[in-house]
């Protein structure tokens, strides 16, 4: 392996009996599984953190009975769901019902492969890291749609339509925001993007002067698009309880329900991790300085996990504080606001970092940054004014 990861000396000797080329493939698969399991363990406690934060905001106590302060509530729920009877609705499409769950869960797990938990701690250092994650993510809309259709239920079908429409509407702006960072760093590799932010004198992309502070806008909106991709309040249109019971998930019960709910949190986790890698320094502990202890793999795992929980808490805070949007508002936000801003911000960021691309001299780069800020605020002002007039 070119990356000499920490796990290599442990795993490589176990598979010496296989041909050389296969050993690497098997080690990659096992490592992805191990790191994926670490993320899956987070799924057992992340929802507990979320429910506790939400309970505190609503003046109630949240889970309290199972384990210390109710920390084992989610594993207990999971066990209960696994042992429940597996029910399939009458006249449901067997293939679609199975394939949707299989697609959703498998693609969630394999999306962990290029996510680095430390300098040498990752499943596979894909050259197309970010692109791979987005490609895998793009399989969710059809999977959710198939799940909704195959359930043979009107709520599930409408939810499936909504889910597919929403995921498509936010995937494109999200990728466009990512493109600016990818182009500036000159790589798709999430590890290289993180390592670039770790260097001394370079801040995290979110508030880096090297991006003309445009990371603030792109990062903020990338995070919003990420929350929308996770289908969480205020963007949980597909499963709006009052209208659609549980949307495309309505007819799934038992282990299928457990899996699909877990995938919802995995979505949140992966979107948060993408934001952390692209804008929030990845596993870098302190911005602007490059200290020796930051390169210790144990510290890197702790830092990344802490950052992940910070974003889980922010998502919980949003969920408690904001009301649900309407479907037209949601699609309008995605297509009419985030997408144009994404294009302006991406061009602005590229223009700031490489002014020659726009045919300008380097001395104009701060002007490009200022013009981009002004353009975006002007666009938002005009759009909100026209929306208010229509309403």
């Amino acid at each position: 392996m070119t990356d000499s990861p920490v796990y290599e000396p442990l795993l490589q000797p176990l598979f010496n009996f296989l041909p050389d080329k296969m050993t690497t493939g098997v080690v990659v698969a096992i490592t992805t599984l191990l790191l994926g399991s670490w993320v899956m363990i987070q799924q057992l406690f992340g929802p507990w953190v979320e429910r506790k934060v939400m309970a505190r905001m609503q003046g109630i106590r949240g889970p309290t009975y199972v384990g210390w302060k109710g920390i084992l509530q989610i594993p207990a729920d999971l066990l209960k769901l696994i042992f429940k009877e597996d029910i399939m609705p009458a006249r449901a499409d067997r293939l679609g019902f199975f394939i949707s769950i299989a697609l959703i869960s498998i693609t969630s797990i394999i999306s962990f492969a290029p996510l680095p938990w430390g300098t040498n701690l990752m499943g596979a250092n894909f050259g197309v890291g970010v692109l791979y994650v987005f490609a895998v993510f793009s399989l969710f809309p059809p999977a959710m749609f198939i799940g909704g259709w195959s359930s043979n239920s009107k709520y599930a079908l409408i939810g499936g339509f909504r889910s597919a429409g929403q995921l498509l509407a936010y995937e494109i702006p999200m990728f466009l925001y990512g493109i600016a960072i990818i182009a500036v760093n000159g790589t798709f590799s999430l590890r290289t993007i993180t390592e670039n932010q770790m260097a001394s004198g370079v801040g995290w992309n979110l508030f880096s002067h090297q991006l003309g502070f445009l990371g603030l806008i792109t990062g903020f909106i990338f995070f919003i698009a990420g929350v929308a991709e996770s289908e969480r309040i205020p963007f949980d249109i597909p499963e709006a309880e009052a209208e659609l019971v549980m949307g495309p998930r309505t007819e799934f019960s038992g282990w299928r329900y457990a899996l699909i709910m877990m995938v919802e949190y995995i979505h949140l986790t992966v979107n948060s991790l993408l934001f952390i890698y692209l804008f929030f320094g990845g596993y870098d502990a302190i911005p602007w300085v490059d200290l020796a202890f930051e390169h210790n793999w144990a510290v890197q795992i702790i830092v990344l996990t802490a950052k992940l929980y910070l974003f889980v808490m922010i998502a919980a805070w949003l969920r408690s504080a904001l009301p649900r949007m309407r479907i037209d508002q949601l699609l309008s936000l995605g297509w009419k606001q985030l997408l144009p801003i994404a294009i302006i911000a991406s061009i602005g960021t590229l223009g700031f970092v490489k002014p020659s691309l726009l045919g300008l001299d380097a001395m104009f780069k701060w002007i490009i940054s200022a013009v981009t800020f002004v353009l975006i605020f002007l666009f938002m002002f005009l759009h909100f004014r026209s929306t208010r007039r229509r309403n």
Binding site: M1, T2, D3, P19, D20, K21, M22, T23, T24, G25, V28, D93, L95, G96, I99, L103, A124, N125, F126, G127, V128, L131, Y132, F134, A135, V136, S138, L139, P141, P142, F145, I146, W149, L157, A164, L168, E171, G186, T187, F188, S189
Partner: protein, 222 residues
């Protein structure tokens, strides 16, 4: 030198597999058949392609089912699965950027359009006649042939290990790809553009004709 005996055997397995799977309606038997056929195919193609064999089998199976299946939505689902498995095959053929693009464009974008269209069609309607099925078999045969030739031509030269791990410098790949597209193959692009324009005009024409027919039907109904 390609061993034509092995090539024909592998091709036979790929083409026979969907038909044998259709004989049984039991998931366990399907899994056992899949494992056995993957093993045989992997053995025939050697250790270099042993990871690719199960994917190839899946791709041709889904592609065949997409044309054999008479229910529209089921066929659309099989098409989506064929797109996805074909996309993942590219990873083992050292074309990881093509894999990512294929999965996101065809597996994500195009498939959802096909699914939307399929939902609008009556679930029980059959749109596959005998002639379409024969065409489908021919296309599946061509797909199987292409995949086999890819394995025999491409994989032994490459290194599966590097294909999975050492995929650095994605931008250089994009650059090379774009360079060849806009230099060596630049003359193809105007023809493609004409083809797309033609299909666009044809689609508009068909839609307008349908609209007239629909209007006439509605008038009769009223």
């Amino acid at each position: 030198m390609v061993d034509y005996g092995i090539l024909l055997a592998a091709l036979g397995i790929l083409l026979v597999f969907p038909q044998i799977m259709r004989l049984f309606d039991n998931t366990l038997i399907h899994v056992v058949l899949y494992v056995v056929f993957s093993g045989i195919l992997g053995y025939l193609m050697g250790t270099d392609a042993i990871l690719l064999a199960p994917l190839m089998l899946l791709t041709t199976y889904f592609a065949a089912m997409a044309v054999i299946e008479t229910r529209v939505m089921r066929a659309a689902i099989y098409l989506l699965l064929a797109m996805i498995s074909l996309g993942f095959s590219y990873i083992f053929l050292n074309s990881e950027i093509l894999a990512a693009l294929h999965i996101s464009v065809y597996g994500g974008g195009i498939a959802i359009l096909v699914l939307f269209a399929a939902v609008l069609i009556d679930e029980n309607s059959t749109i596959v006649d005998e002639r379409t099925q024969i065409n489908g078999y021919i296309i599946t045969f061509a797909l199987a042939m292409i995949m086999i030739s890819l394995v025999f031509k491409g994989v032994p030269k490459s290194n599966v290990a590097t294909a999975i791990i050492n995929l650095d410098d994605g931008f250089a790949l994009v650059h090379d790809y774009s360079y060849f597209l806009w230099t060596t193959y630049a003359h193809v692009i105007p023809f493609l553009a004409m083809l797309i324009l033609g299909s666009l005009i044809g689609a508009v024409r068909l839609a307008l004709t349908d609209k007239e027919v629909l209007q006439e039907e509605m008038e009769v109904a009223i």
